[in-house]
Every structure is written in structure tokens, then in C-alpha cells.
Subunit: 353 residues, 2 copies
DNA sequence: AGCATCCCTGAAACCGGTTGCAGAACAGCC
DNA sequence: GGCTGTTCTGCAACCGGTTTCAGGGATGCT
């Protein structure tokens, strides 16, 4: 009768794998040092005390082979990948660049690496990013704004810690932070009002974008506080980019509305607005004062340098990195959101006509 | 006598691991579908033909559980992580942003995700990035410029495919591409010369930066071709940023050298130069013509819009992504480096004084 | 019927780490 | 010496996939 071979162990494969594995493994280091892999691992991670002799031997072997533990294996064993997913909307936007750098800098000394992905302001793409990040087993996710629904976000938060900006949300495993857009807008408006402007246009962003809405609210509040009536004709749509700013100016001027100042939903919009004014022969701030929002690095070097509301994107990045770390550590983040402030430069002046 | 317990199998641990593993595993899917993990794996990867019945069962189970394979485990088993490391110098630089987006877009449909890290123009940091990326087992690395030595780069290329820009190097597993800086500089200079400028300043970058050197060479060649003597006083150092451009203008003007046009090593330098000229009461292009290099998105919206040499950073990103994919596939990349071209806008004009 | 093939499928080895458990070595104390 | 405690170390299980190998069933051919 043929014997069942169930219990016969497999022959060890001679060589395998689609690609040559030329990297140094823990086992090789351990053998070189004359210890077992477990001991070597413990020495590397300082999990327990080990005799000096062995420790030195292992360290020597590590140095000799330039051994660096395989991140995938470690991630698999530990259930942590030392990776933080970061979903921004467009990495080429000067707005996000700063934040990403700040995150990277904060994370790097702790061994964490950021994995950046772009949502491009499309819910579907944001979902793709989130799924991908979860599959890759990131230890946490930082999400900048975005159109993903609150409910979906909360669902993800049950699988992995999440820090989100641009909205306020309370759930376990999620921390949200929002800059004070409304207050920022009021700072800008108060500045223009103090300069004597009464006809102030507002170039907004996409319809229903929360940031834009908040800033519009600040615009209205400031007008009301100054006793100036709200004129819907002075509010025109933009797209958060230069093009939108240009179109907005053309639309305003073509409609015949009078205005002596503009408050733009963000700096890029202001850049476009300035160019359109220039094209129509109007000077900034001689004929029209312009205020932006963000304080991008480039704003300092515009001609003229742009007056704007500063929200420190760098600080925002630092804070979100800090928050995700605390969330991962199981603590509830104690973070103060960076304040907005007005930076007066040379794109604003008194009323001249 | 006490029996040796070597052969007694360990008791299965009840629960372990520092964090709860709440994710769906292949095994769960397989059990649900009534097949083994091996079969499920094969179905997912389409490794072999499987009866329709089983395939449908497995697909149903996957859908039911929303199963997505754990990337770390897959990476460990396959030896590939579907991750491409990208070392840029500063992610907040508008220059790199575009390239990164292009890379992401090219890689995404293939399941690859880019892992971005910043070298900050420091050899030591670049080494850190490379080490980290290698440890993480990325399938390939794209490196933008940088100060890492050629020898070191070649050494890394023996462990992982590398695409590098900004230098020319030939080794196995490495592909390099360089935009034609010299030719670009000559385009810019020819334009200024044709406008009648004879006293043209050049604001360079860091000393010994290869790009800056190449562009300086183009500057000299163009002058020589036009029969104009080279005046070292017209060449001043910058730093590739706005600040450097400003300092350069001040230095030029304070030294009393006469010039009617400036060629700047990159757009950001030109922005700074324009601002400094503005500060000193000089108009662009009325008093001084300015040409940049890069054609950053912002250049279109400067006042006046900047004339510059365009190197399509986006194309550069696409090409490098394409190249690394081909390299990973074991082919030698067939890539044509994007050409440089002159984009004439409004920061250049005829000589007025 | 007898035998070689081919197609599917599952058990188990393997990727490269971490870690629970037990055993060895050694010290301290009665 | 005998016994208890520490401290250190190694075996082997485990993370969650992929893949080799062998075996069972169906089929083709003589």
C-alpha cells in the first residue's frame, strides 16, 4: 500500500525566486557574529540586555555587511510600516509644497517616511488614494482638504489613524484641524476698509468649496461690521488658480461694476487678478488694491509684493505631522492650529479715485 | 528522565502583536470561497487557469470582504514593492512639483506608487535618502540632479535600477538624461543679441553646479559667436532662488557696470532680479530686458510675463518615469530627452539707452 | 485495460524579519 | 550539594502573501 506522504517535509528548494536576492539578511549577520537571528534582532532593536561581547560582535558584523533590515519584512512582522500616507490635492501647487516639506522634516528623524499621493480634488481619486494607502499598511494618513465625504472619512478612521485639515470632525482615531478662514478674511477686509475702500470685490473659488465659503462669510461679516451693504455683483467666481483670477477681473470690468479694491480667495487668484488689471491698464495699488490669502513664498517677490493673509502652510504641515504621530501613539493630539495674520506689503494703498 | 521537548510544536499563541490586525486576509477569503489560499492567490494573480466555478466563488468572496492584498506581505514574497523612490532636491520648489506630478500620473495606472524624498542639495542627505529607499526595497529610483558622486551612484545602481537627470553616466542598471542646458542658454542669448543688446549680464547659480556651468558656457559661446568680448564683471553669482537674483542686481548696479539685459540661470533668479530692478526704479523691459530659464508655471503670470527658456519639467518627469519602468523591465530605455525652446513673452525688448 | 499526459488543486516551504517560550548557564543562599 | 532566581540565548511560530511540488482526476492513446 502506498504510504501517505502528508507528513514528509518538502525538499528544500535549491534556488528560487524571480529575482536574485543579493541583499544582506539578518541571518547572514547572525551567522557572521556567531549568534542566532533572534539574538541579533534583539540587539538591533535593543529589546533586551545582551552581553557586551555578543553585542559588539553583532555590531561589527552589521558594519561589515552594511546590513539594513528589510523594511517589508519588518513591516509584516510588526504590523507597522513606518510610513505615513499624505493625500494632498496637487503636489505641484506651491501651496502644498511647503506643507509636504514640513511633514517630511518632522517625520524623518523618527524613521517615518511620507508617502505622498494626489487627490486632484476628485472624490474618486481620493478614494483610490485612501484604498491604496490602507493596502500598503501605512501607519497613519494625513489628508489635506479634499472632497471625500465625512462619512467615508470616518469609516477609514476605523482602520487607520487619520489627520484631516479643512474641516472639523470628531471621531475616534481621527483628528481634524481647520485654519480660521473667516477670521483671516476679516483681517484682509478690515485692512482694506481702513485704507478707505468701500467698493471691494471678492474673487471666490469653486462653488461650495468650504474654504471659499468661510472666506466669503468673513468678507460679508467685515462689510456688515463697517456698515457697508453687500453687493452680490462684487462677488465673482474663480478657481483658486491664476486663470480664475484673470477671468474674474475681466468679468468685473466688463460688467461695469466699480471697485477700488479686491480681496482674492487665495494668492494664486490674486496673481491672475493683478495680471488682468495690468492688461487693462490699471496699476496695483495705484488704481486697485489687491489682497491675497495664503502668503505663498512667491508673494514676497511679486511686483509689487503682495499684501495677503498669511496662513503658515509650513506650520500646518508640522502640526499635522505632530498630530498623526500622537494619534499613532494612542494619545489624543494636543495641537494648537496655527493662527492667521495679515502681512501688509505693497499691493494695497489708499483710494485714489 | 525528562523528555526533550524539541519536537513538541509550540502552542499556538492566542493573540499577539502590538496592534489589532483587523484586516481581511487571503486565508479568510479562501475559506469563504471554499478553496485553499494557494488557489485564491492564483486566481487573484491570474497565474493559472482555474475552473470558472471557483474563480467566481473567490471573486465573490473578495467583493464581499472588500479584500485587498497586504502590500508588505506581497512585497516580501515577490521581492518587489511596486514602489519607485524619487529623490528630488526640494519638494517645495515649483520646479520639481510639476515633475513629481507627472511621475505620479505615469506610474499610477501600473500600480506603482512614488515614494518622494528630498535631498536638499546635500550629499549626506542624498545618501540617507538612497539608503532608506534601498532598505524599503523600492523597485527603482529616480534621482533629480543632486550632489551625490558618480561613483556612489554607480554603486547603488548595482542594487536597484536608477534613472538620474542632470548628468551623463553609463553603467549597467542606470539611465541618465540631461537637458541641453548649453543650447538653451544660447537660445536665450541669441534672442537678446537679436534685440540689439550688447551688454548682457549673466546671473549664475552655486559655484560649480553643473547646470549653471553649462548655461554659462552657452552664454560665452553665444557672445563669441556674435563677436562680443566676454566681460567677467557681467557674470555674478546667485543661488537659484529669488534672493540670489536680487543680490546679483544690487551687486551689478553697485559695481557700476553697465548692462541693458540680463540672462538668469533660472526663473526664480529672474523673479528676484526683476524685483531688485523695480526697487532701484528700473523697469522691465523698458530699461532692462530679463530672460529666465525653466518656464515655471508662475512665469506666465508675472508682471510682465517672463521671457524664458522652456525645459518641460513635466516631460522630464514623464520621461524619467518611463525610463525607470523600462529599466525595471530589463530593457534599455529608449527615451528622447525633451528639447529646450525659447518662449518669448514681455520681459524682453529692444535697447533703449 | 493499461499507461502516459494534462489540468487543477492543496500542503507546505519560503520571503526576512520579530517574539513567546523554554532551557542553559550562572549566581546566591541555606 | 541542592534549590531558587536571574540573565541570556535559541528554537520555532508567526506576519500574509507567492510558488514549488506532488497528488488526484480526467482524458487520450495503444
Amino acid at each position: 500500500m502506498k504510504q501517505k506522504s502528508k507528513t514528509v517535509p518538502h525538499r528544500v528548494r535549491g534556488k528560487r525566486g524571480p529575482r536574485p536576492r543579493n541583499s544582506v539578511t539578518l541571518k547572514m549577520v547572525a551567522r557572521e557574529a556567531g549568534v542566532s537571528a533572534s539574538t541579533a534582532s534583539r540587539i538591533i532593536n535593543r529589546t533586551v540586555n545582551v552581553s557586551d561581547e555578543l553585542r559588539l560582535a553583532v555590531e561589527a558584523a552589521i558594519a561589515k555587511f552594511k546590513f539594513r533590515p528589510n523594511a517589508a519584512a519588518r513591516g509584516l512582522a510588526l504590523g507597522r510600516t513606518l510610513t505615513i500616507g499624505v493625500v494632498s490635492q496637487a503636489m505641484d501647487s506651491p501651496f502644498y509644497g511647503e506643507a509636504l516639506v514640513a511633514i517630511e522634516r518632522r517625520l524623518q528623524p523618527l524613521g517615518y517616511a511620507p508617502l505622498f499621493m494626489s487627490g486632484n480634488w476628485q472624490e474618486q481619486e481620493e478614494v483610490r488614494c485612501m484604498e491604496e494607502l490602507v493596502n500598503r499598511g501605512v501607519d497613519g494618513i494625513i489628508m489635506f482638504a479634499g472632497c471625500l465625504g465625512d462619512a467615508a472619512l470616518k469609516a477609514y478612521a476605523r482602520k487607520v489613524p487619520i489627520v484631516v485639515t479643512g474641516r472639523l470632525l470628531r471621531t475616534k482615531g481621527l483628528f481634524s484641524m481647520q485654519v480660521d478662514d473667516r477670521n483671516g478674511a476679516m483681517l484682509a477686509m478690515r485692512h482694506l476698509l481702513e485704507l478707505g475702500h468701500k467698493r471691494i470685490a471678492f474673487v471666490t473659488g469653486f462653488v461650495n468649496h468650504p474654504d471659499a465659503n468661510e472666506r466669503l462669510l468673513g468678507y460679508k461679516n467685515a462689510l456688515a461690521a463697517a456698515g457697508i451693504g453687500f453687493d452680490p455683483q462684487l462677488v465673482v467666481p474663480g478657481d483658486f488658480h491664476e486663470e480664475g483670477g484673470m477671468r474674474a477681473v475681466y468679468q468685473l470690468m466688463d460688467s461695469g461694476v466699480k471697485f477700488t479694491a479686491m480681496f482674492c480667495v487665495n494668492d494664486q487668484t490674486a496673481y491672475g487678478a493683478c495680471l488682468a488689471l495690468f492688461r487693462r491698464g490699471l496699476g496695483v495699488p495705484k488704481d486697485v488694491s489687491v489682497v491675497g490669502f495664503d502668503d505663498l513664498p512667491a508673494s514676497t517677490y511679486r511686483i509689487p509684493p503682495l499684501t495677503c493673509v498669511r496662513q503658515s502652510v509650513q506650520q500646518l504641515g508640522e502640526c499635522s505631522a505632530e498630530a498623526i504621530l500622537q494619534l499613532i501613539a494612542g494619545r489624543r493630539p494636543q495641537i494648537t492650529v496655527p493662527a492667521v495674520e495679515l502681512v501688509v506689503r505693497e499691493s494695497t494703498g489708499g483710494v485714489s479715485r
